[in-house]
């Protein structure tokens, strides 16, 4: 039933044969039926540059992670979860690098989003279960945490033996994990931090915050030892930092290649799978490095051939709408004739990197802008502005995600700043990062098509 789908996800015949019993079991637990598989195939073909091997290999890594997640309880002694903020992921990767074969580390929300959401468009049952079991609708809860709670309650993924969380990013992770602790008895490790700089502080380096984050990480490692029985070591830290740095650097090169190419060589949707694997705990480090190398080569080839998914000379934008559960918004923007020069908001321009060379994990949190969303509002605005400048875009599309306390406060400030500083238009696009019930590409189409026309007219006027 799903051979074709797995081929689209880069599985070879041998890999499929070997993995089949596990996949059968996991898909049965997930309730994936023929209709879901067909929908998944269609979505991959319609929204991704599926003919590229690099894209297929990244999809394969996510599909394997889904199977691993679902079967984690029967295949491992202990299970540890984390999701957001993304800065926790390198810590999880470090723990994984200590090579505890019997412990499963995962970011379950992200795995479900990238597979059950992006591929199968089947997150709603989990969201509803989350709503029914402690995170009710209308409470402005983050759908990421509704999804993972729902999946656990439905018995699709196991409850963990430890959940690692931090509340500085927004209040939802801590709130959701309190529920997990109080109602389901899951031990939770909270990582405290102090990333609340005053406006005007950034980009100054705050050594105190870095040291405090470091001390919190040490506390966390102790909890891992006490509860899970896994001891952190320097070799694991070094290995992880190196692997993540190599991946990030290569990924940045790919983003730059994409951003300066005309026509836009592949859909930005096809980069999403690589981006969210950045620093994510996975045992298949070599696999993701290999996939990235292949994808870089394939994109370079397309650039050299002048092939693209958007017309050459199309107006280019910086776009922050990285919606991991739904590829259709990004595709709709591209199909409206807008080239998305850079979509990953977390890409740090050389301008930023020169100020913050990350040496240690604690730098990421302590300095402000980190490998994911900068939690200083000022940094957020400044980095978005820097990205617009770096790629010389004609406009920007700034995503306004419902129920995302971390993200929304700076959306309008960013719009005003970009318009004032660069004199280019900015479209604010409402939606939800993790819940497709709240919006659709069709609903947003009028805005995007109008914006595309506005950009084309402005570009034409500048040219004459």
């Amino acid at each position: 039933m799903y051979i074709e789908l797995l081929k689209l996800c880069g599985f070879t015949e041998d890999e499929f044969k070997k993995e089949r019993p596990r996949i059968d079991k996991a898909f049965r637990i997930l309730g994936i039926n023929k209709e879901d598989v067909q929908r998944g195939e269609n979505r991959l073909k319609q929204n991704l540059d599926i003919e590229l091997l690099g894209v297929r290999k990244f999809l394969g890594i996510w599909m394997r992670e889904l199977v691993n997640l679902v079967l984690a309880r029967e295949e491992h002694r202990k299970i540890v979860y984390s999701d957001f903020p993304m800065e926790l992921r390198p810590l999880m990767s470090m723990m994984l690098s200590t090579d505890p074969g019997d412990v499963y580390f995962a970011t379950p929300g992200q795995v479900l989003n990238m597979t059950m959401g992006q591929i199968f468009d089947k997150l709603t049952p989990f969201l509803v279960a989350g709503e029914e079991n402690g995170m009710p609708p209308g409470g402005a809860h983050c759908a990421l945490y509704q999804t993972r709670l729902g999946a656990m309650v439905k018995g699709v993924i196991p409850f963990p033996d430890l959940s690692v969380i931090a509340s500085y990013h927004c209040d939802q992770p801590a709130e959701a994990e309190q529920l997990l602790h109080e109602v389901y008895g899951v031990p939770v490790a909270y990582l405290d931090s102090c990333p609340d700089p005053n406006w005007g502080d950034w980009p100054k380096f705050n050594d105190y915050r870095v040291r405090y984050c470091g001390s919190q990480a040490r506390k966390l490692f102790q909890m891992f030892e006490d509860i899970i029985g896994v001891k952190m070591n320097e070799e694991a830290k070094r290995t992880t930092n190196k692997a993540n740095a190599i991946f990030r650097l290569k990924f940045q090169q790919l983003v730059e290649l994409m951003g300066h190419a005309d026509p836009q060589p592949i859909s930005q949707v096809s980069l999403t799978h690589a981006f969210f694997l950045n620093s994510m705990p996975t045992r298949n480090i070599e696999g993701k490095q290999e996939a990235l190398e292949i994808l870089c080569g394939e994109v370079e080839e397309r650039v050299n051939q002048g092939k693209g998914v958007v017309e050459k000379g199309a107006p280019g934008v910086f776009c922050t709408a990285t919606i991991s559960v739904d590829p259709t918004i990004t595709r709709m923007i591209e199909q409206s004739g807008i080239a998305i020069r850079i979509q990953i908001p977390f890409w740090l321009s050389p301008w930023v990197m020169a100020r913050h060379p990350y040496r240690e994990w604690a730098d990421m949190i302590g300095v402000g802008p980190c490998l994911d969303i900068p939690h200083s509002g000022e940094a957020h605005v400044a980095i978005n502005l820097a990205n617009c400048k770096a790629f010389n875009v004609d406009g920007a599309i700034n995503f306004y995600p419902y129920s995302c306390r971390e993200w929304v406060p700076t959306v309008m400030i960013t719009k005003r700043t970009i318009e004032r500083e660069l004199g280019i238009p900015v479209l604010v696009l409402e939606g939800d990062c993790y819940d497709t019930r709240n919006y659709s590409a069709g609903q947003l189409r009028t805005r995007v098509e109008t914006f595309a026309e506005l950009l084309r007219a402005t570009k034409a006027a500048k040219a004459t």
Partner: protein, 263 residues
């Protein structure tokens, strides 16, 4: 013979509540028609265009180019091109009132504020189609609760001496609030005026990111309501102009753009 050299184009605007077609020849309005959209976008587009063509004594074959717009724009099979209603409204308003720099458009299920350049192109815009507050739908719901025809609301509100304050920004909550106001003995006039203020308030706030520059023009079906116009003027502190037929501005813009495309 002279008739045959004319370039005749049509703009078809299929909105949530009504479908409109305007027929234009060489930059002059020949005819227009407005009908309820009903349950079929495609059928409404066919029917309203046939009606407009009939008024002008023309048939479909006389049309050189057709542009469809509105939320049903992609379902108009006989259109040569689909263009968003935001672009069409800007063009239509620019044709009717060249000094217009801001358009407030409130339709059946959405509202928009559009910044317009001198040449009739869009400078900036903001749109609400997620929430019924600030749309014609809000007024329809409230009119039903009060037992009024929607057309009656404007004149009724203008006689209010002390408009009520409707604090809820949600249509459903506002409906409950209105029931309470009625139970408190507030007059129908004051309640309706309060409703108009609530609608205007949502739109005024939304449009601040675009900015209100004179001349401000109000379009869409709700522009026929003088109470909302008055509340909007109070909200933005500027006078507002309303075209004679505010509902057909989008279709007119589409027809004019079709004229440009056909060249």
């Amino acid at each position: 013979m002279k008739e045959m050299t004319r370039v005749i184009t049509a703009g078809v605007d299929v909105g949530a509540a009504t479908a409109k077609t305007v027929i234009v020849a060489d930059g002059r309005i020949l005819s227009y028609a407005v009908i309820p959209t009903g349950d079929s976008v495609a059928r409404a587009a066919e029917k309203v265009t046939k009606a407009a063509l009939g008024q002008a004594g023309l048939s479909r074959t006389d049309l050189k180019f057709v542009i469809s717009t509105g939320y049903g724009r992609n379902s108009v099979s006989f259109a040569n091109k689909a263009v968003t209603e935001i672009i069409c409204h800007a063009r239509g308003v620019n044709f009717l009132i060249p000094a217009a720099r801001t358009v407030i458009d409130i339709g059946g299920q959405d509202s928009k504020v559009i910044g317009v350049r001198e040449d009739g192109t869009v400078r900036d815009f903001v749109m609400n189609d997620k929430c019924a507050a600030g749309t014609g739908r809000f007024l329809e719901v409230m009119a039903t609760v009060l037992g009024l025809d929607i057309e009656e609301m404007g004149p009724v509100s203008l006689t209010s001496r002390e408009p009520c304050s409707i604090s809820s920004t949600c249509t459903i909550f506002a409906e409950t609030e209105m029931v309470s106001l009625r139970a408190d003995g507030r007059t129908r006039e004051d309640i309706v005026a309060g409703i108009h203020r609530a609608v205007a308030s949502r739109v005024v706030i939304m449009g601040k990111t675009v900015g209100y520059k004179e001349q401000v023009v109000f379009t869409g079906g709700v522009a026929k309501n003088m109470g909302v116009k008055s509340a909007l003027e109070a909200g933005i502190g500027l006078p507002i102009l309303i075209p004679d037929e505010p509902q057909i501005v989008g279709a007119l813009g589409a027809a004019l753009l079709a004229g440009r495309e056909s060249r």
